[in-house]
């Protein structure tokens, strides 16, 4: 098990280094000359002299590897530079926005789990009966309609028509409900189908036949065997989904004017505020890597075939 984890961790570290190189490259190759941008922002006339002075100040006259190393050193200390637009350090802005996004993402993740796990199990157990047909129908609808449409519909029903939940204002629990629901609806729908499929697949396995032929109760077979085995593919998928939840919050945050990372990113992209975009890319990469590392660890604990390094992997 340690060998497996070390290998995984090493790979994740490589991913991080790769992403940081891409992010670094982005700031240096796509945006044109940053010195000119900064000068334009501060309102100084960009003469040749001024540009050279600013290039020296920003360290742009040094070699690329040197620049990368100074940049990465700063980043590791939490210094992502200063926003071109507002002049506020990106770090400060992040400190305010990361918790907002985390609230949203973790909330949506918990709602997804809380709905999809019981519904998926129920749907699988009641295969082709009324509960299954209804759940699957609802799940198809949740999948077919894009998330932002759900957001608009939920806003209309719960805020405009019924006036139950606020659409704007303070970051209260009630304010969190609609964006969390919007974010989790498509994911819940998908996981109902995934969990149902994984359970049904397990129910076809030879060991289920063996347990049934010994006359064990379906309850023992399901809760004592099938669910744990079906959890393996679900956990590895969840790792990926939690990452895409962070990304998916971009649209929902804009829709509900939630002051999270996503809406910050959208504004920054519109303003070509590269330090912010770079910080976002790096942060997302770190989040992805951490979450997948966690999922791998969980799989390791769950599945002896991975832990002990043998057998057929599912």
């Amino acid at each position: 098990m340690p060998g497996y984890l070390i290998k995984k961790l090493g790979r994740l570290l490589l991913v991080l280094i790769g992403v940081s190189l891409i992010a670094f490259g982005m700031t240096h190759w796509i945006q044109g000359n940053p010195a000119e941008l900064v000068l334009a922002q501060t309102g100084v006339d960009p003469t040749q002299e001024e540009i050279e002075r600013m290039e020296h100040q920003l360290g742009l006259d040094r070699s690329l590897p040197e620049q990368y190393l100074t940049w990465i050193e700063k980043v590791l200390q939490g210094d992502f530079g200063t926003s071109y637009i507002t002049g506020v350090p990106v770090k400060e802005e992040l400190a305010y926005r990361v918790p907002a996004t985390l609230k949203l993402t973790i909330g949506a993740f918990l709602v997804t789990l809380g709905l999809a796990v019981p519904l998926g199990i129920w749907s699988a157990v009641q295969k082709d009966k009324l509960p299954d047909v209804l759940t699957r129908g609802a799940a198809s609808m949740g999948l077919a309609v894009p998330g932002f449409i759900w957001g608009l519909l939920l806003c209309y029903w719960f805020s405009v028509r019924l006036g139950l939940l606020p659409m704007t204002g303070e970051q209260t629990f009630a304010r969190l409900v609609l964006p969390v629901l919007t974010l989790s609806l498509p994911l819940t729908s998908r996981y109902i189908c995934v969990i149902r499929g994984c359970i049904l697949e397990q129910l076809e396995e030879g060991y289920v036949f063996l347990l049934r032929s010994k006359g064990l109760r379906e309850r023992t077979i399901l809760w004592g065997n099938v669910l744990k085995n079906a959890a393996v593919p679900v956990v590895s998928l969840l790792g990926l989904s939690l990452g895409s939840l962070l990304g998916g919050s971009v649209v929902v945050e804009s829709l509900f004017s939630w002051p999270g990372l996503g809406s910050y990113l959208i504004t920054s992209i519109n303003n070509r505020d590269y330090p912010v975009i770079t910080a976002y890319v790096l942060l997302m990469a770190v989040a992805f890597v951490l979450i997948n590392g966690l999922a791998d660890l969980l799989l390791c604990l769950l599945d002896p075939r991975i832990r002990l390094g043998g057998g057929r992997q599912t």
Partner: protein, 314 residues
């Protein structure tokens, strides 16, 4: 004395098939006896076993006849009553030992789960019993701490046999218990089956395409062809003096040490066209007479004892 198992005019029809997979099969098995059922792949052997157990997949369109265990009709039995019979009154050793154990559970846990629910044993006492069972099939007790993927094929098959005999079933349905094993291990596993039969006084319905295995431990043999029993009698009589051309063909297919090396093995000719009525074997039969394609032969007492379904050799 009423036989332990009576199968009468038992038929199973799958959806979208032109003939039943098991067609009007009648068998009976006395306590402690071994009945071998032989035939080629697809002749309905496994469907017969699943039918006796009462496991009908969704694609079954119709079931007819009667299956009685100790005088009790099994067809149409409510699930709960069937569960009480399964394991303790009848049990099965499935074809594929590779998938018959839960890949994510230690062998010991799998024993204790079954013994706990069926015999009400505590974890400690079920471990003691499991150790004893493993010793009887020549397996070290260390296996209890292993996962199925850490066992060899022969060990897995022995664990299945140990599990089957743990509940001392009156009837054991063995579906090709040796066909996935090396020849050397096949012999040992058969010996263990026989030993346990003597210990537990279980009757065994042994399904196999391995004539050697069947002739070694079976008291009686039923030969199946395309869902029907074509010959049925005492093992020595069927094996030494077969009546039905199909049985003769099957026996002639087995290589023998006494044959000259240059002689080619007998090959049952392939049938030319679809079955349109009459004897199912007619199109492949070297001894067919015009009657064969007109009228289906009934199973009736043959000249050499036993039952045989053939127009020309009865």
């Amino acid at each position: 004395m009423e036989p332990l198992l009576v199968v009468e005019h038992f038929s199973v029809q799958y959806q979208r098939m032109d003939r039943p997979a098991v067609d009007d099969v009648s068998l009976s098995l006395n306590p402690g006896q071994v009945l071998g059922v032989v035939g080629e792949s697809g002749c309905g052997k496994t469907t017969l076993i699943k039918g006796i157990l009462g496991f009908f997949p969704h694609c079954v369109a119709g079931v007819a006849g009667s299956v009685r265990l100790e005088g009790k009709e099994l067809l149409g039995l409510p699930d709960k009553e069937r569960r009480n019979l399964l394991g303790t009154s009848m049990d099965v050793i499935a074809q594929d030992s590779g998938t018959s154990l839960n890949p994510m559970k230690r062998i010991g846990k799998q024993f204790s789960q079954i013994l706990g629910e069926k015999l009400g044993l505590s974890y400690q006492s079920s471990m003691i019993y499991a150790r004893e069972l493993l010793a009887r099939v020549n397996c070290p007790k260390e296996l209890l701490n292993r996962f199925p993927f850490q066992l060899s094929g022969g060990q897995r098959q022995r664990v299945l046999i140990a599990l089957a005999f743990a509940l001392r079933p009156k009837l054991l349905l063995a579906d090709e218990p040796t066909s996935a094993l090396d020849v050397t291990v096949q012999g040992q596993v058969l010996r263990e089956l026989e030993l346990l039969r003597r210990d537990c006084k279980s009757a065994i319905l042994l399904i196999s395409h391995n004539l050697g295995a069947v002739s070694r431990i079976a008291d009686q043999v039923a030969v199946m062809y395309q869902g029907q029993v074509v010959e049925y009698g005492e093992t020595h009589q069927v094996m030494d003096t077969p009546s039905h051309p199909y049985t003769k063909g099957l026996i002639a297919c087995v290589p023998s040490l006494s044959l000259p090396k240059s002689q080619r093995l007998y090959n049952i000719p392939q049938g030319g066209k679809e079955w349109e009525g009459g004897c199912r074997f007619a199109s492949r039969c070297p001894e067919r007479i015009p009657d064969c394609q007109r009228q289906a032969p009934q199973l009736r007492p043959g000249k050499k004892g036993g039952l045989v379904a053939c127009h020309c050799c009865g």
